[in-house]
Every structure is written in structure tokens, then in C-alpha cells.
């Protein structure tokens, strides 16, 4: 028996990095996987590789969420797993923050997660046989420890951490078995760092700094984050809700470099 057999899954931001790894991993474990992204070219390519279904989606746009969830309901009549993974890095140092990019950051990293929980959660409530499901919101180790150079990113990821608990407890207290947990990756090797890798030298420096944060002495691999998402998506985690799941090589527990 595969670990996600017969489960209908949706992953946002599935065209790259962690989301892409989840699309693959969930498909391997028998999940019927749908995923959304703004990058349709990469999205279609990933879909082709593993037989998952790509749906165009900008997570900050409520109408597009309605359309994506409607499509899944038409096809499958249910949703079992939702991963709110799409996210972007922040706006940099406080003094330089531009309000339009600040608002865009919150629209994707916070409002996008809320909209996923809202529309995905409503379909989960309509599941045949009663409300069931598992929602996984991708926060970050930056939602636990401060990222001094990027208060916007930390703020959005902190918001996801507590929004997750509120949604989890609300569903649970209403007697619905829809679980909701946050996943906190540490530095992981994905294209998210591309904007920061402006030269080879800067890139090496970045890797050194990231590695210094991590007692295991290396960056995470996308598949390792996807493995935790898989655990949370499966019934193996059936008594966990409103909790935080950290995959960071020990980074949030140790002082950097010591």
C-alpha cells in the first residue's frame, strides 16, 4: 500500500524547488496530484515528467483559487491534501522597503495561504463521508528565528505559523477532521536564492553563510522537505494538528557557527 493511495492532493507553487519535489514525491506514493503555479512553462514540464496535473494559479488571486478548486471538485469530487507552498523572498532592509513590493509579498506569502486554506478547506468540508483532510502550510525557519536582513519575509512566515494554528483549532473544535500544520524548512537548495546569486563570489559566500547556520553542515535537499510534507499529508500524522514541523538540519536549535 502506497502512503498516499487514493488521496487527491493540491500543491501551490509546484513548478520549482520544494513544490516540484512534493509533486514528484506525492505522485510516487500514489497521490492523485494537482498543482498550481504562475510559471506555466515550468508547470507543464513538471506535469509531463510525473503525470500530475498542472493548473495555472496566482495564489494572491481569489478567483483563480475558486477556478482551481472547482476543477478538482469536478474531476475528483474531493480534496484530501493541500500544500500552500508558493512563496517568495522578501523586500530587504527596512529603510529600503517599497510599499508595492511589500504588499505583493504579503499578498503571496500570507493572503495566498489564507485563500488556499479557505477554498481548499471548503472543498475538504464537502468531502463525501464528512470533512477530512490535511493542510500543510509552508512557513520557514525564518518564521521561528529572526532574519535580520529581511523583516518582511520573517513577518509573513511568522503570520503563516500562527494562522495555521488558528485554522487548525477552529476546524478541530467544530468536530471536523481537517488537520492543519506548518512546515518550517531551513536553507534548502532551490532556485529561490537565484536573485541573491548575483556573482559566483556572492553565491559561494551565501552558501558558506547558510551552511554555518546548520549543524549538519550542508543545505537541505528539496526531497527532504517533501518527505516531511509526505508524512504530514499521510495518515501517519493523524493525531497532529496546529503544530510546527521543522526540517532544518538543526539550524533553529543552535547558535550559528557554534
Amino acid at each position: 500500500m502506497l502512503r498516499l493511495e487514493n488521496k487527491v492532493c493540491f500543491i501551490s507553487g509546484g513548478a520549482s524547488g520544494l513544490g516540484e519535489a512534493m509533486v514528484h514525491r506525492f505522485s510516487e506514493e500514489g497521490g492523485q496530484v494537482y498543482f498550481g503555479d504562475i510559471d506555466a512553462v515550468r508547470g507543464e514540464a513538471v506535469a509531463k515528467e510525473c503525470g500530475a496535473i498542472f493548473l495555472p494559479l496566482d495564489v494572491s488571486d481569489e478567483e483563480q483559487w475558486v477556478a482551481a478548486i472547482q476543477r478538482i471538485e469536478q474531476d475528483k469530487g474531493r480534496l484530501d491534501v493541500l500544500v500552500n507552498n508558493a512563496g517568495i523572498l522578501g523586500t530587504g532592509p527596512l529603510e529600503t522597503i517599497d510599499i508595492a513590493s511589500w504588499n505583493r509579498l504579503f499578498a503571496i506569502n500570507v493572503t495566498g495561504v489564507m485563500l488556499g486554506c479557505k477554498h481548499g478547506g471548503m472543498l475538504m468540508q464537502r468531502n463525501p463521508g464528512g470533512a477530512t483532510g490535511s493542510i500543510i502550510n509552508i512557513s520557514s525557519n525564518a518564521g521561528i528565528l529572526a532574519t535580520a536582513s529581511d523583516c518582511g519575509y520573517s513577518a509573513t512566515k511568522g503570520a503563516v505559523r500562527l494562522m495555521t494554528k488558528s485554522i487548525a483549532i477552529n476546524f478541530a473544535r467544530r468536530g471536523m477532521s481537517i488537520r492543519c500544520n506548518s512546515l518550517h524548512p531551513g536553507p534548502t537548495d532551490t532556485p529561490i536564492f537565484k536573485p541573491w546569486r548575483t556573482s559566483e563570489k556572492v553565491s559561494t559566500q551565501l552558501d558558506d553563510t547558510l551552511r554555518e547556520m546548520i549543524p549538519l553542515g550542508r543545505l537541505g535537499q528539496p526531497r527532504e522537505i517533501a518527505n516531511m510534507a509526505l508524512y504530514l499529508a499521510s495518515d501517519e500524522s493523524s493525531f497532529s494538528t496546529g503544530s510546527e514541523f521543522v526540517v532544518d538540519g538543526g539550524g533553529t536549535s543552535a547558535l550559528a557557527g557554534m
Binding site: 468536530g175 501517519e236 497532529s240 494538528t241 496546529g242 503544530s243 526540517v247 532544518d248 536549535s253
Partner: protein, 243 residues
């Protein structure tokens, strides 16, 4: 199911309750398991062997300084090494600051905290020999909320979670590929907790956990799926401490 094929595990407090469920699930995933307890666990061990699994039982008091070495060495020679240690044995003795007796506190710390320390210290050389390993300490969600009566239990589990992280960071920085994490169960139906904990009505999911659910989380941490997971706390508590 073979997520732990070829791995060898030691589980303490495995005669009953969560420990027995953990040992069973590890076996079902292909691991060879040494069950240990102060109670007789031969029946559980025999049941696992009858089902075709690799299992053995040995009596061991986790708090006894000299108990660990012979048990680990016997495990390694029997099964070829050690990859996984689950420090599950634990006791709950209710007392408040006004009623607690120092000897009782030392007893609880001996089992819940010093025992796991002795186990981790003794197992590291075996795990290094295998090129890595996973240490899983069963703490409690009582690390994060306070009852007047949890003075010894809660503080022992909070210290265990903290100690786990120190071990994880040490092993990480040394390059041992040994991971260490704590699991924080909420109320699960066992002899320790009973089946009608007054906490149940406060659990958002509206029920106690089952030992099998807890065991599934141990499998995840024990497996290579969790290769980047170390020095963290996993809560399996039906949402109890989130609100």
C-alpha cells in the same frame, strides 16, 4: 512495508504501551528490534518473532549506569549493529512543590532524563560505526504546559527535549550523521494515561491518540526520509498546546 529494512533498533520501556506499539511498528517496517523494560516483555517479543520479525527482549533498567553497555553490545552482536535508539521508558509521579520528596524527584529524573543520557552516550560509538543513526527521545507535550502536579514529570521532559538538542548539535557539528529529535505526545490511551484522561475534553481533535499513531511518527524520524531533521521537537497531541 520496508522503510527500515536492514536497520537495528533499541526501544526502552517496550513491554507495554507506546513502547510496545513502537517496537511492533519498527519490526513491521523491516527493522530488527531489541525490546527492553523492567517489566517482562518476552510475550511481546515472542509475538513479533511469531509474525516472522527479528526481535528479542532483555530486562534493563534505563536508570542503572551499568545496564546499558551489555545490552547494546548484545544487540550489536545479535543483529549486526545499532542504527536507532528510542528512549521511551518513562514514569509519571504527580506531586506539587509542597508535597514533592527529593528522592522521588531524583527517581523520576533518573528514569526520564538520566536514563536517556546514559543511552545516548552509550549508543553513539555504535552509530558512528554504522556511519550514522537516529536517536528518538519520547518527551511529552507537558514540556509546553503546566499543571501544578507536573513538577517532576514536566521538568524532566523539558530537560530531555533540551538535552536532545545539545546532543543533536554536537553530533551534527562533529559530522557523525547521527540525528537526535524529541517527540512530544499528548494524551494517548496507555496504562500510564488510562482511557479517560480529564484532558480529553480539552483536546481540539476531541479524542486521545492511539499508540499506533505515535509509532508512525517514530518510523518517520527513524527512517532516512528524515535525513535533514535534527534537534527539533515533533508534537503529536491533537492540537492541545496550540490554543
Amino acid at each position: 512495508m520496508t522503510r527500515l529494512q536492514g536497520k537495528v533498533a533499541v526501544v526502552t520501556g517496550a513491554a507495554r504501551g507506546l513502547g510496545a506499539a513502537i517496537a511492533t511498528r519498527l519490526c513491521e517496517e523491516g527493522a530488527a528490534v531489541m525490546l527492553t523494560d523492567i517489566l517482562d516483555g518476552e510475550e511481546t517479543s515472542q509475538r513479533l518473532r511469531d509474525a516472522g520479525h527479528q526481535a528479542a527482549f532483555t530486562v534493563m533498567d534505563v536508570a542503572k549506569r551499568d545496564a546499558w553497555k551489555p545490552v547494546l553490545s548484545d544487540t550489536a552482536s545479535r543483529f549486526g549493529g545499532i542504527d536507532i535508539l528510542v528512549n521511551n521508558a518513562g514514569v509519571y509521579r504527580p506531586a506539587t512543590i509542597e508535597t514533592i520528596d527529593l528522592d522521588d524527584l531524583i527517581d523520576v529524573y533518573g528514569i526520564n532524563l538520566f536514563g536517556p543520557m546514559l543511552g545516548m552516550q552509550a549508543v553513539i560509538p555504535y552509530m558512528r560505526e554504522r556511519g550514522g543513526g537516529s536517536i528518538i527521545n519520547i518527551a511529552s507535550n507537558a514540556t509546553d504546559f503546566i499543571f501544578p502536579e507536573t513538577i517532576s514529570y514536566g521538568s524532566s521532559k523539558a530537560a530531555l527535549a533540551n538535552m536532545t538538542k545539545a546532543v543533536a548539535v554536537h553530533c551534527g557539528r562533529q559530522g557523525y550523521r547521527i540525528r537526535a529529535n524529541s517527540i512530544h505526545p499528548g494524551p494517548h490511551a496507555t496504562a500510564m494515561m488510562g482511557t479517560d484522561s480529564p484532558l480529553v475534553q480539552r483536546i481540539p481533535l476531541g479524542r486521545m491518540g492511539t499508540p499506533e499513531e505515535l509509532a508512525a511518527t517514530v518510523v518517520y524520524l527513524a527512517s532516512d526520509d528524515a535525513a535533514f531533521v535534527t534537534a527539533t521537537e515533533l508534537f503529536v497531541d491533537g492540537g492541545l498546546i496550540a490554543a
